[in-house]
């Protein structure tokens, strides 16, 4: 008898979620993490003395509430604090604010367009309905419409029933969301350029696509999903940074009896016949288990750890074609003082929310154009938060940390990533932002630039894609990561996947980890 029921490869948040659920169901679980600490891309690090950063992923919006409840994460230290607003500074010294308070928000939108102020609520209601329409698919293992088994057909029928129940109007809207570009979709609702740009930005996050690329409207919805379930202030910041999310999940897993080993790099999945029977660590240690569950991305899992020779050709082809194309970077700044925005001078409530550098759809599309041809955006899209404004413990008193999510920084950069190119990206980010907050440059005490190549090297995410594979329609639902293998199982018996490279995808949701655990437990 092997010592473990299940080995989880990778202590990222999904691996930990899967481990926690399995352990709570009485399984003997071992999590193997290559790095010295768990968390994967959801981790907090003191990069500069006294300044703590969510180095990679930096906000919480999609983490499934049922995971927070099931695993009692607040008991293990999770506290998600609200992000209250988004402001978008403009070149003419004005700005667009989106506020939590309905009246305040309406009044601000009306400053830009009375019509948009009125359309805004209807747009919100529509997205809510669309998110509701999609949501059952997030919680279920996606059925394969091409399979003819009774179970698959029943599941497809249930899904068809669900879509029929939406009614024609909503079904048509859903179709538009699934096929249109976010810019085109938003054009149907709004006229204000800055509002459209800022909204469309959530359609391009993590993906090498521009706001005018078809399919991006769906990503917009994907990011809206967090606002369901009566979670009023859905966008949040985890106290202690995103490492606190992983930390809480790890705590829950350990409390349930899971064992976590860090500094343990899996070199290979042991395969006997068509069955996974354990893993081999770098250094040669063999660990056997009834099940192996990989939280690594599909490329690393199948082409790296398992090896093509153990897998069907067609499947290998699918995994090879699975697109990553990381497009995002992070710039983390330690600041001696707060940025002073020309459009909203001083220390206002806007600094407790997000700051979006997305003045127009054209700005975003041009940023994409450069990346499309393998260059860094000279004037990038940025999503900025100042975590120390929400959780002062992130920086020494009176000082601040700023997290800047940057797009586009293509993984496949012409000539490849070098230290010089990394710093050039950092300069482009700081220069662009300093146009809106002139004191920024003088306030910087330390700068950390994380390119897609760095993300791949440090966290292990292929091509630095933050979602373990692009969230584009051709690799979602029953196609994620490969046709016929979207239900957490793999062509090898005893081998499961639980990372964001499976349905429903990334965004610190934890849904893949939870769904995988359920699939494993159902299979017995």
């Amino acid at each position: 008898m092997p010592k473990y029921d299940a080995i989880i490869i990778g202590g990222g948040h999904n691996g930990l979620v899967c481990a926690a659920y399995l352990a709570r169901a009485g399984k003997k679980v071992l999590v193997l993490e290559r790095r010295e600490r768990v968390g994967g891309a959801a981790m907090t690090e003191e990069v500069f003395p006294g300044f703590r950063f969510s180095v990679f992923s930096y906000v919480v919006s999609l983490l499934r509430p049922e995971i927070i409840r099931d695993l009692e994460l607040p008991r293990h230290g999770l506290h998600i604090l609200p992000l209250e607003s988004t402001i978008t500074p403009l070149d003419n010294g004005d700005y667009l604010g989106q506020w939590n308070d309905h009246d305040q928000n309406r009044r601000e939108l009306a400053r830009h367009s009375l019509r948009d102020a009125e359309a805004y609520d209807e747009f919100g209601l529509m997205l809510h309905q669309m998110a509701r329409a999609i949501k059952p698919m997030l919680a279920m293992a996606p059925p394969d419409p091409a399979a003819l088994s009774f179970g698959e057909l029943t599941a497809m029928n249930r899904l068809a029933e669900h879509f029929r129940a939406l009614g024609a109007k909503r079904f048509h809207m859903l179709h538009k969301l699934l096929t249109m570009s976010s810019a085109d979709f938003l054009d149907e609702w709004f006229e204000s350029e800055v509002l459209k740009a800022t909204k469309s930005a959530s359609g391009i996050i993590g993906t090498l696509l521009g706001p005018r690329s078809p399919g991006t409207a769906y990503v917009l919805l994907h990011h809206y999903m967090g606002e369901l379930d009566g979670v009023f202030r859905a966008w949040g910041f985890a106290k202690g940074g995103n490492g606190a999310v992983s930390g809480a999940i790890a705590g829950a897993a350990q409390a349930a009896g899971a064992e976590i080993r860090t500094g343990a790099t899996v070199a290979q999945v042991l395969v006997k016949g068509s069955r996974a029977i354990g893993v081999v660590l770098e250094g040669g240690e063999e660990i056997r288990a009834s099940l192996v569950v990989s939280g690594a991305d599909p490329r690393r899992t199948f082409l790296g750890l398992v090896g093509e020779k153990h897998l069907p050709d067609e499947f290998v082809e699918s995994i090879r074609r699975f697109r990553f194309r990381g497009a995002s970077a992070k710039v983390n700044l330690a600041l001696g003082e707060l940025p002073n925005f020309t459009c909203l001078p001083g220390r206002g409530p806007h600094l407790r929310g997000a700051i979006s550098i997305s003045p127009s759809v054209e700005y975003l599309e041009r940023a994409y154009d450069e990346a499309k041809y393998g260059e860094i955006s000279r004037r990038p899209y940025m999503d900025i938060v100042i975590p120390s404004m929400i959780d002062p413990a992130m920086a020494p008193p009176g000082k601040h940390v700023m997290s800047i999510f940057v797009q586009y920084a293509p993984y496949h950069l012409n000539g490849g990533w070098t230290d010089a190119r990394r710093e050039a990206l950092g300069d482009a980010v700081v220069d662009t932002l300093a146009q809106y907050a002139p004191n920024l440059k003088g306030a910087i005490l330390h700068r950390q630039v994380v390119t897609p190549a760095d993300i791949e090297r440090i966290v292990g995410l292929a091509e630095g894609n933050i979602f373990q594979g692009e969230l584009s329609l051709q690799q979602m639902f029953f196609l994620r990561p490969a046709p016929a293998w979207a239900r957490y199982r793999t062509p090898l018996s005893g081998l499961y996947q639980c990372g964001a490279g499976t349905h429903p995808g990334g965004g610190v949701m934890g849904a893949s980890g939870r769904n995988a655990a359920h699939a494993i437990l159902r299979a017995g």
Binding site: D103, Q104, R106, R107, L114, R115, A117, E118, A119, D121, E122, L125, H128, Q129
Partner: protein, 389 residues
């Protein structure tokens, strides 16, 4: 920040209660005095002055302005005479109510629309291809509502019929006065440029105070509008635009507004759906409910308490039963200090909605859910002759 109305300088100085509430993004007084009681009684015995500036207001102009509004509203607007005002709901294509308000014909080609919700986009969408322009004057036009039996005298015995309007002067300022309101009493609404607001306010206070007029807030208004059987958007019905599910929407028929739907009009938004509904009779009715005092008294006596009634109007959904079956729900209600009755506005399935039907309403007595006897009655609960006279 919340917006303040053009009268804020005056109203904030008077607001001893410091009780404010939001209305369409503005700050308005819930009551000026510590209790709203005297303000309520002023409505029915003398006069009350309300700041109703937060209403949404639109000026619709053009050769086809009448055509546009006739197309949007369920009532006939083409026949509206200059100087006439019509209360009307308007619907979406499915015949579900989007909003309700008034349409006043200022001259042959100019109308003023008042609404509870923003409607600029809706009006503009329907105006495509028509010679009609829409101007949002919500912020530039200030409005006061002067309600109560003394209101006519305060306006210098103005000669104005029910639901008519005309130009007048107050404190030397040109204003428009309409004989409209939300209290079901004799009353007027006064429309003016924002810049003249304080002058008009001061003039009314000067003339009105000796006649018992008092500034009044939303708590007093809420009691009066329930007595008048007037529904409130977001409280008594969910506008179709905000409904998450179809069951939350209401047709005009379901809101007791059949009289305001003119199916003889050839075309208007929602006509087909409304014609179909009229043919099969609506499933829901919006009615008045009177909760029997004796029954209340008995429930309280059982636990050794004297009967209690709410001090202010409530606006929560309360189940109403016909035997074991739930017949519907009350959406707002309260104690009528004038009628000495506990009344409520309720949505009932048509089968239980005939006046005189005996029902039961849920009531919580000492933390326990009980049922009190209630009876369907005709709206309005209070309908003084002076309202129209």
């Amino acid at each position: 920040m919340l917006m303040t109305t053009p009268f804020h300088e005056r109203t904030s100085a008077l607001c001893a209660s410091h009780a404010w509430r939001r209305w369409a993004g503005y700050l308005v007084a819930s009551s000026y005095e510590l209790s709203h009681e005297r303000e309520y009684h002023a409505i029915r015995s003398a006069a009350a002055l309300f700041d109703v500036s937060p209403l949404y207001k639109y000026l619709v102009r053009g050769k086809e302005a009448a055509r546009l509004l006739d197309h949007v509203a369920t009532r006939n607007i083409r026949n509206l005479q200059v100087g006439q005002v019509a209360y009307t709901p308007w619907c979406d294509a499915a015949g579900k109510v989007l909003d309700d308000g008034t349409i006043a014909r200022l001259d042959e080609a100019t109308f003023r629309v008042t609404a509870a919700e923003p409607n600029l986009r809706w009006l503009e969408e329907n105006a495509r291809g028509l010679d009609a322009s829409i101007e949002d004057v919500s912020e530039s036009i200030a409005a006061l509502s002067l309600q109560g039996p003394a209101s006519r005298a305060i306006l210098d015995d103005i000669d104005l019929k029910y639901f008519r309007l005309k130009d007048a002067k107050l404190g030397g300022i040109p204003v428009t006065v309409s004989r409209t309101g939300y209290t079901g009493d004799l009353g007027y609404e006064i429309w003016m440029e924002k810049k003249s607001a304080l002058t008009v306010w001061d003039a009314l206070i000067e003339v009105g105070t000796p006649r018992g007029m008092t500034p009044a807030g939303m708590l007093a208004l809420d009691v009066a509008r329930i007595e008048a059987g007037l529904m409130l958007i977001d409280v008594d019905y969910v506008p179709a635009r905000k409904a998450f599910i179809e069951a939350q929407t209401s047709s005009p028929y379901e809101l007791d507004l059949a009289w305001a739907v003119d199916l003889k009009k050839e075309r208007f938004v929602g006509r087909e759906a409304l014609a179909a509904e009229a043919a099969r009779a609506p499933q829901w009715r919006f009615v008045g409910i009177e909760i029997e005092w004796e029954s209340l008294e008995r429930l309280y006596a059982e636990v050794g308490l004297a009967t209690r009634v709410p001090g202010a109007a409530w606006r929560t959904s309360v189940p109403i039963y016909a035997g074991a079956e739930q017949a519907g729900y009350a959406s707002s209600g309260g104690w009528s200090p004038l009628l000495k009755k506990y009344i409520a506005l309720a949505h009932l399935r048509a089968a239980h909605a005939a006046p005189g039907t005996q029902l039961e309403i849920e009531i919580t007595v000492e933390h326990q859910r009980k049922r009190a006897n209630a009876r369907v009655v005709k709206k309005p609960f209070f309908d003084p002759e002076r309202k129209r006279a």
